[in-house]
Symmetry: C2
Subunit: 528 residues, 2 copies
């Protein structure tokens, strides 16, 4: 049952004066529950508990953490229909999407459970002593990854499960051994509370310390600001807009002790369409891209907001096809009146710019809070000259840029901001003639896709979900896949440390049977 | 021959109006060469060349990069006595130290050459396609580390070779495939120019692109500021003071596109001495620590500036012994009049604080620019109450903190700023009774040492040279060892990319024969 309260560790609490409700965009009404925003006292309590919890949680074994993570997955499933109904009532998204996203969330939690149970992820590295080395003896040095400390997680509006309360950031941080404080997203505070209740249950069941997880409600920016400024918070995970992500990054970098902020932010996900591909599969592409642009009402961070081609008749044909295909798609609901409000405003502002031409826009009547998809075109030079064309319009909207030639195409790509993804649509033989274009694209993105669509982010170790700024605040990390744990850990060395006092990961006898780099060789062998 | 000019890529250049000389602290005179500070035009040229060079250098094979790195090592050795003499004339350090540091520098370069020649460091990760997966097919996704872009390196005053022009930051960045622009340290500009000439020679010999390396002279902060603000610079490496490191971090985080700064900064390297250890080996310890405190005139970032013990007669005895031992050591020269000036000022300021007692200070006459070592004591409560006691005094100076009891010892440790190292001096049986003390120490440091001294940083894969702020700006990385390459690379994914267009590291046939994680299994096998 949703109560509207915060979780300050294991304790429910609602001491703050500020309250708010979530909104059902399909019905265009507020939902019933009154949520209590965490006040400063509650925020400080949550951080204090997290700091205390870290003392034991940082030394909790991989096996125990795996039990905790799996229990969270089990308890989320236990929530059953209430979770799905709450999700739908707070997002306007359909049930199938809710269930799919729950599946992804469960999969992520279990992947991290596998990772920490197996244990080799700590990158144990051992260099044994050489006592008789000249001119100086060599010490025994052993290194492994250790958790960085309490992590604050800001959930995304558009993924209330997979990138929110028990989403990738939280799962990775808990797997690392970092207590988590979630700044709950106000648009899905009910979904957040239900998932938080599952995490708290799981923590109690598996004997985790009080404070290993807290869930704080918030209607505005205050709770987040206080959390990021708190000296005992050691890292921040965020998914959302560039404006909000940058604000948190700035706050964190102005602290006396700056802390890492991994913010996954905006992206227009450029798609480069080469001429031969248009000739051979232009029609299919138009259908595929009409679907990708409107998928989830365009509310994906990997939504293709920019299609780049070289001026030609086939490109004209493709634009005509896409124009027809995109208005065949039934409009769908956006997450919140604020989000559709921003969509309409941003789209209008852009469409009012000189040298941008609307070529297709859904113009029949739609339900309230439903988004009208649109596509527009611009020349390569117009695009190069107007920075407004480079900005993300969050929703089902794309610009097709008609470049003069290959050189201009390369130039357009080089001038793009950093992106999560870049896509190349090409005939197999064609791509190798466009090395400079491909190379320019690679330098602007975190992931490059061949003859596909950017929407859809596979959860697997080889995935990079991140990229050069402003796709993320630090391109050296990924937000998806088990390697996203690296955001929340630091390497730590023991020099000449007694074997009995070393963590199991580094003991001579390798009791956890993990892979370790011993004197430059990867092995599971014991040391003599 | 030292000319005083900058290297703008392969070109020597001295267009700026500002000139300066280096200083010989042993002779207390300026050295002859007039150095030309790089002007804005030269700075922009260097960055522009680096950006151009990146286009080819980022795709240069590991074998080629290894040749380049080994050629740098060879060319540095070729410099012969001129390098050693210049080093000594610019630092006041003895020849043995110069040769030792050259050896370390060569070893680092060759270690990175080995690493990139072998090639597995890119963490190649492959998840193969599952076309018939339900409900959606799974794409083929392949990931590897790629270089981040041009890196600016700020050398350290106290390690003109190993942490400067061709030091660890530069070697790691070049190994990664990142062009490097060095902001040469004004105190050893001649050493820097010689090493730069070796790098340029090596680059030409091995066919590296013009702009892969530049060396810019500077007398003040302007050159560094312009470099860090330049939009085409993608990362910064720094070794030096907290003040300077933080200033660069702030500059970088205020950019439109913030970039990572890895700054290795100050540290007082706390040494915790447990009671039984004092009983059994107090005398030996006093000798050992007198040497460690004064090693290199205390000009090491791992110098033990803080000894922490629990009040007792044996601690009193140790303090007396250390007091006697430390003044037996012959004072030695500091790097520069400015550095000895800071040392004397910082020491005086501290010694004038209430509740700090000087227990030993070398007070015989010394040569000009030679430092007088000193030790002082303070109670645990005095230390807790006065933040001035927590600051590093760069030079041969340490404070011994006499804590009331174990609880206060733990409290003192918990209140410390982040540190590069922490040391525990204990009898083997004793340590296990001090879990809380050890745990507190671990949370404040990057490396923990048992019954040793913090001075001496072994170059090996298990080394962590870094730590919580302000030991470094980002505790998730190390400045020493081959893993320091991770500061300058980012993960990059290819989705459904044609095999022929993939980099060799990710091709089906594994032509480089590197270790790769294929469908969660580490293997060198080819893919079918």
């Amino acid at each position: 049952m949703i109560t509207g309260e915060n979780y300050i560790g294991f304790q429910k609490s609602s001491e703050g004066a500020i309250t708010f409700k979530t909104f059902n965009p399909q019905l265009n009404i507020e939902n019933d529950t009154v949520f209590s925003e965490a006040n400063l006292k509650e925020i400080n309590q949550a951080v204090c508990l997290a700091t205390d919890a870290f003392r034991t949680f940082q030394n909790t074994s991989g096996t125990q953490k795996a039990k905790f993570l799996n229990a969270i997955a089990d308890e989320i499933l236990e929530l059953g229909d209430e979770l799905i109904e709450t999700y739908c009532s707070e997002t306007g998204l359909p049930e199938g999407r809710a269930k799919g996203e729950r599946g992804r969330t469960i999969f992520q939690l279990r992947s991290f459970a596998e990772l920490v149970k197996e244990g080799s992820w700590v990158e144990a590295t051992i260099d044994t002593a050489i006592p008789d080395r000249q001119p100086l003896p060599k010490s025994d040095i052993r290194k492994m990854m250790v958790p960085i400390g309490p992590v604050v997680v800001f959930g995304a509006s558009n993924f209330p499960l997979a990138y929110s309360t028990a989403g990738g950031d939280t799962a990775a941080a808990l797997a690392a051994g970092c207590p988590v404080i979630v700044k709950s997203h106000p648009m899905h505070a009910g979904t957040g509370e239900l998932v938080a209740s599952a995490i708290i249950k799981a923590a109690k069941e598996t004997g985790m310390p009080n404070g290993v997880f807290s869930n704080l409600n918030s209607s505005g920016i205050d709770v987040g600001v206080q959390l990021v400024k708190h000296p005992d918070v050691k890292a921040v995970g965020f998914t959302g807009s560039i404006k909000a992500g940058r604000a948190l990054y700035d706050l964190a970098s102005h602290r006396k002790e700056p802390i890492p902020v991994f913010a996954e932010m905006g992206s227009v996900n450029p798609v480069v369409i080469l001429p031969n591909a248009l000739k051979t599969k232009g029609n299919v592409l138009a259908k595929t891209y009409a679907n990708s642009i409107t998928l989830g009402t365009g509310q994906f961070c990997t939504n293709p907001g920019l299609l780049l081609g070289i001026k030609s008749e086939v490109l004209d044909d493709f634009i005509e096809n896409l124009s027809e295909e995109i208005i065949k798609i039934e409009p769908s609901c956006m997450l919140h009146p604020n989000i559709i409000g921003s969509y309409e405003t941003n789209k209008e502002n852009l469409l009012n710019q000189d040298r941008l031409n609307v070529v297709s826009q859904y113009d029949a009547d739609v339900n309230i809070n439903y988004a009208r998809q649109a596509i527009a075109t611009a020349s390569g030079s117009a695009f190069l000259e107007n920075p407004a064309f480079h900005k993300e319009v969050f929703g089902p909207f794309s610009i097709i840029v008609q470049c003069e030639n290959e050189e201009q195409l390369e130039q357009v790509i080089s001038k793009l901001d950093g992106q999560l993804t870049g896509t190349l649509i090409a005939d197999n033989d064609e791509a190798s003639n466009y090395n400079k274009v491909i190379s320019a694209l690679q330098n602007r993105v975190g992931r490059i896709i061949f003859n596909g669509v950017p929407t859809g982010v596979e959860v697997c170790p080889s995935m990079v979900h991140g990229g050069p700024y402003p796709a993320s605040t630090d391109s050296r990390f990924t937000a998806v896949g088990v390697n996203s744990i690296k955001r929340w850990v630091r390497p730590f060395s023991y020099q000449d440390w007694p074997n009995s006092l070393l963590p199991d990961e580094l003991k001579n006898e390798n009791p956890l049977d993990i892979s370790r780099t011993v004197n430059n060789k990867l092995t599971k062998d014991k040391l003599n």
